[in-house]
Amino acid sequence: MSEPSSATRLIVDRVTKSFTNHLRGGVHLPVVANVSFAVKAGEVVVLGGPSGVGKSSILRMITGNYGVEDGRILMRRADDEAFVDLAAASPREVISLRRDVVGHVSQFLRAIPRVSAAEIVAEPLREMGVPAEEALARARRMLSRLNLPEALFDLPPATFSGGEKQRVNIAHGLITDHPVLLLDEPTASLDAENRDVVCDLIAEKKAQGAAILGIFHDEEVRARVADRIVDISAFSMRKTAAA
């Protein structure tokens, strides 16, 4: 691991992850071992390597969605702040890190019954204390920018197409100004026009100083946004499966 500079926002330090499946006789499934890299403010780092190598697992560990078996995941909001180790954080601390430090765009939208697209997108702002009306207005602007038809804003996304859902999901993940931003295949089900919008949004976040870590299978998008690629194959314990 390289020495953290003052611009460093995220440090993944010798992180190891495996699963034990008790339903299949306690079979042990190692995923990654000793993953180490760092992301600076204003930098876009892309995780590379074939699918199944453990890229998504790493993102999930950084959001706190997966537990970290060994190692540290350090993050902070600003140059002069102390790092917090998410791997060792209590559930409450993880929730506050998600609110204030680490934002993310997941691969799939988890729709909530009866909650409209605009309300879903506004929610991260509401959690940060933005008044309902302002949050909703900003959510609608974000959805417009992603070319979601306005007729859909007030409908729950359960019945939306894959691309529409994905845009709601992106809007939900990008509406806030989290200093660390994780993107898991945000452009997977988008057409060229919307891919462009997402690339622009990423560029804006980068210019604002976000430390961005992503997974992009689309070569073209990857080439457009990535400053650096960290090849996860080097840390993967699933080499046989991935080969």
Partner: protein
């Protein structure tokens, strides 16, 4: 969420029914604004735990402390009966699985909502009625039905009325025992959404007992998985569901039907 002092602290909470174990050595802290789901199958002790925490059942062992509105932390067992009952009808709510257990079925919807107000000494009919009206609207019951008895309401409406009846006193902690159990799926969705919105708006803390992991995922921040009266796994809700460690949790998660 980041208020520093816990609202409720459970230490070694244990309840035995004779030789049989209801729940054993359960400890946790609940913070203001936090929703804790207790999941497990029937007989796992989750309802016993809920009743023990909420003073509805005397404990065999352990201790539950609660931070009163004045900021002092009190051992619930040391409260007088009067203090305990006052707490239960002002600062706490209890939502039963069967709304008939939590409602007065023979008095009107308006009186069901107004009861807590009258219990703390509100003596102005017009004001009570206005509040009841407002709460009916908030829980999406036509205010025109304010004078009807809940006996004439559907299951979903009864459950929403029960919620209004509890929340009218602006409690800080709500205990919920399978609040969506026994309702049709579409009715469940409406109720969940309503609960989610109200809990968020009012900044409530809640302890939610459910066997439905989807309900736990939607409503709770944190989760405790119980089996045979003991907590086998605990943590952030989405982590317990997406990265379960304990064999029993893995079995539970693997048993969910995906749509």
């Amino acid at each position: 969420m980041t208020t520093d002092q816990p609202l409720l602290i459970a230490k070694g909470v244990t309840k035995h029914y004779g030789a049989r174990t209801g729940c054993e050595d359960v400890s946790f802290e609940l913070y203001p604004g936090e929703i804790l789901a207790v999941v497990g199958e029937s007989g796992s002790g989750k309802t016993t735990l809920l009743n023990g925490l909420s003073c509805r059942l005397p404990l065999t062992g352990g201790q539950v402390s609660y931070r009163m509105r004045d900021g002092t932390l009190r051992n619930l067992a040391s409260l007088t009966e009067a203090e305990r009952r006052f707490l239960m009808r002002t600062d706490w709510g209890f939502v039963h699985q069967n709304p008939a257990d939590g409602l007065r079925m023979r008095v009107s919807a308006g009186a069901n909502i107004g009861e807590r107000m009258m219990a703390v000494g509100v003596r102005h009919y017009g004001r009570i009625r206005e509040t009841a009206d407002d709460w009916l609207t908030r829980v999406e019951i036509n205010a025109g039905r304010i004078d009807e008895n809940p006996a004439s309401f559907s299951g979903g409406m009864r459950q929403r009325l029960q919620i209004a009846r509890n929340l009218v006193s602006h409690p800080r902690l709500v205990f919920m025992d399978e609040p969506t159990g026994g309702l049709d799926v579409s009715v469940q969705a409406r109720l969940l959404d309503l609960l989610r919105a109200l809990v968020g708006e009012m900044g409530l803390s809640a302890i939610l007992v459910t066997h439905d992991l989807a309900v736990a995922r939607l409503l709770s921040h944190r989760m405790m998985v119980m089996k045979d009266g003991r907590v086998v796994e605990t943590g952030l809700t989405d982590r317990v569901l997406d990265d379960p460690r304990h064999p029993y949790t893995q079995l539970l998660v693997a048993s969910i039907l995906e749509v």
